[in-house]
Each structure stands twice: as C-alpha cells, then as structure tokens.
C-alpha cells in the first residue's frame, strides 16, 4: 500500500462530513454562450458523427454537457502551464492548487475536501428528454447525489456522484446526468 495514503480513520471522518452535503445544490448556471453552430460543427466532426442526423437544427444529445466553458473574463488555466505539476485539470477544478485536497466540482457547490490526490472519471447515468437546438440558451443545476467510501485495488477511493440537470432558458428539460467522480 502507498505510504502516502491517508489513514482509514481520517477517510471515515471525511466521508461522514461529505455525506452531510448530499442534496446540496447550486443556483442555475447558464452556459456562457447559446448553442452555436460552429461549436456544434466541431463537436460533430470530433465525434465523427453523421452531420445528416442534425440537418433539422438539433444537436447531439450530449452536447449540452460540454457547453459550460471558461467565461470570457475568467482566469486562464494555462497561466500555470510552466509549473512542473501542471496537469490541465486541477487548475480548472480548483483554480488554485495541485494537491487534490479541495475541489470545486461545480460552480456554486461546496468544495469536496478529500485528502486523495488523483481524480478519475468513473462514468455517467443519463436520462434524455430532447435534443437542444441551435440558438437555445442552456442552464444547469447541480447537486450532490451521494458519496461513498470504497476499497479499490490501489487503496481507498471516495466516490462522488454529482447530479446535473440541463434545461433550456424556458425551463424545458434536456437531460439529466449523474456523474461519478472517483477520488483516490
């Protein structure tokens, strides 16, 4: 076992603190831009999808998930690129450290403070209502679905499940996604 791993009693306390956050939700967060044709074109190209499927002005089912980007005046994550530990993701999640101790998984949700340094994408559970359309504005409401402590092959893992609900500006549901984030 890795000597740097936190002791089990610490993780037991941490998971207890995290479980108090279940149900915490943020206010609606609007994507910086509306569904925009050039973004959709690049998305379809990058996923090697068939453009003919979207000739009616709708966009790929999962497109809204990726609409929540850095705003025009927000800090540049690449400002830290000269740091030897720059990984390109911690800077986006925390905006301040590489230690993996406090992570803001969604704007407006309480930070997840876990003494585990690695973060993995564990998977998703989706419910789909309809495809977004070019020109629509999209917002997201996020909440903590649950937290769990598991023993993995390399040591303890903390699983964080975040529920993201995506809507159009006139409150029409587009999709729900429960993302599993693995901290280890």
């Amino acid at each position: 076992m890795n000597a740097a791993l936190p002791p089990p009693e610490l993780l037991a306390r941490v998971i207890g603190e995290l479980q108090a956050l279940i149900g915490a939700r943020n206010d609606p967060v609007f994507a910086e831009d509306a569904v925009e044709a050039s973004e959709v074109r690049r998305f379809i190209h990058a996923t090697m999808d068939d453009p003919a499927r979207y000739a009616d002005g709708t966009v790929p089912l999962g497109f809204p998930v990726h609409m929540f980007r850095r705003g025009l005046t927000e800090p540049d994550p690449l400002d830290a690129v000269a740091d030897k530990d720059f990984d390109g993701r911690s800077q986006v999640l925390t905006g301040r450290d590489f230690e993996g101790v406090a992570r803001v998984l969604r704007p407006g949700l309480p930070a997840v403070e876990v003494p585990l340094t690695r973060l993995l994408n564990g998977g998703y559970e989706y419910l789909f209502y309809r495809r977004a359309r070019i020109g629509e504005r999209v917002y997201r409401i996020s909440s903590y679905h649950d937290f769990a402590l598991r023993q993995g092959s390399t040591g303890p893992n903390i699983l964080v499940r975040v529920d993201d609900a995506y809507f159009t500006a006139d409150d029409a549901p587009l999709l729900n996604a429960i993302a599993t984030v693995i901290l280890r």
């Binding site: 190209h45 990058a46 499927r53 980007r69 993701r89 994408n121 419910l127 789909f128 209502y129």
Partner: protein, 157 residues
C-alpha cells in the same frame, strides 16, 4: 425505419467502429470541448509524469460514441431514453474502438415498446473498457410516434 416488432431477443445492433484513433483525433476532441487535461495530448507528461502507456482517449469522447451508436440505430423514430456507462479501463492512442450493443429484454409501456440493451466499447484486441446498459423506446408499426420531448414517466412500470 425501425419498429418494436423488429426487435428479437439477444439481437445485436450494428457496431460503430472508429479508429485507429491517433493524437490528432484526441487533440481535436480536447480542442472542441476545451479540455486541458494534459494526459490527453501531451505524451511526455502522460507517460513520464503519470506513468500511463500513452495519451488517453477521453472518457467524455467514448460516451458520445455510445450515444451515437444508439441514436443511429433508433433513427428518427425511436428515442434513447436512458444510458448508464462506466469507465472501467482506459483506451490509449492508436487503438481502434468498436461500440456495440445487444438486446437483453423488451417490455411495453403505454403503447410504446421498451428495449433494454447491454452496450460497450472494445478495442481491436477485444478488451472491453466501457460497459453499460441502455433503454430505448420504439414505436409499434402503425402506432403513435414516440413523444418529443420524451417523458421519463413513460418508463415507469
């Protein structure tokens, strides 16, 4: 146009094959979604710092492969209502990925057909990386069209 009457138990759906997926494909995806995570485009960092075998194909990309697989199969008449997937193994640059699906069961709900599927992504060596399940709603031939927007309540028993 696919209808519920066309579905058979254990029926496979048409595979979706993509690859070999090289650094340009990964760079294009990272750029399209502005993902700066270095393990997806910086080989020296991925192998040297993180000890990975190569730059990693994004899980976020793989999930869309499964959505695409199911969306192409259902066409305009059906609806991918639910999808669950897990990233169990990584895939790296150079691999060819095959998204696949198989019917595991059927039901009817409120005048529509409900198809349960097992789905996944395997590489050219047959290694499965992304197991999942899905629920697809299909119309009966001559029956009402699947509603859009879709109502998840339709799936309730």
């Amino acid at each position: 146009m696919i209808a519920f009457e066309d579905i058979r138990p254990n029926q496979p759906i048409p595979d979706l094959v993509r690859g070999p997926l090289g650094p340009p494909h990964l760079m294009r995806w990272s750029s399209a979604i502005e993902n700066w995570h270095r393990i997806h485009y910086d080989r020296d960092y991925a192998t040297g710092h993180d000890g990975l075998p190569d730059i990693v194909i994004n899980g976020s990309w793989k999930q869309h492969l499964l959505m695409q697989l199911l969306g192409r199969w259902t066409g305009d008449t059906g609806w991918l209502a639910q999808l669950r997937l897990q990233f169990r193994k990584m895939n790296v640059a150079g691999e060819t990925l095959t998204a696949w699906g198989r019917v595991t069961g059927t039901d009817t709900r409120g005048g529509y057909g409900l198809v349960h599927l097992e789905v996944g992504i395997r590489n050219e060596n047959g290694v499965e990386s992304t197991p999942g399940t899905a629920e697809v709603v299909l119309p009966f031939r001559g029956g009402p069209a699947v509603p859009c927007p879709f109502t998840q309540d339709l799936l309730a028993p």
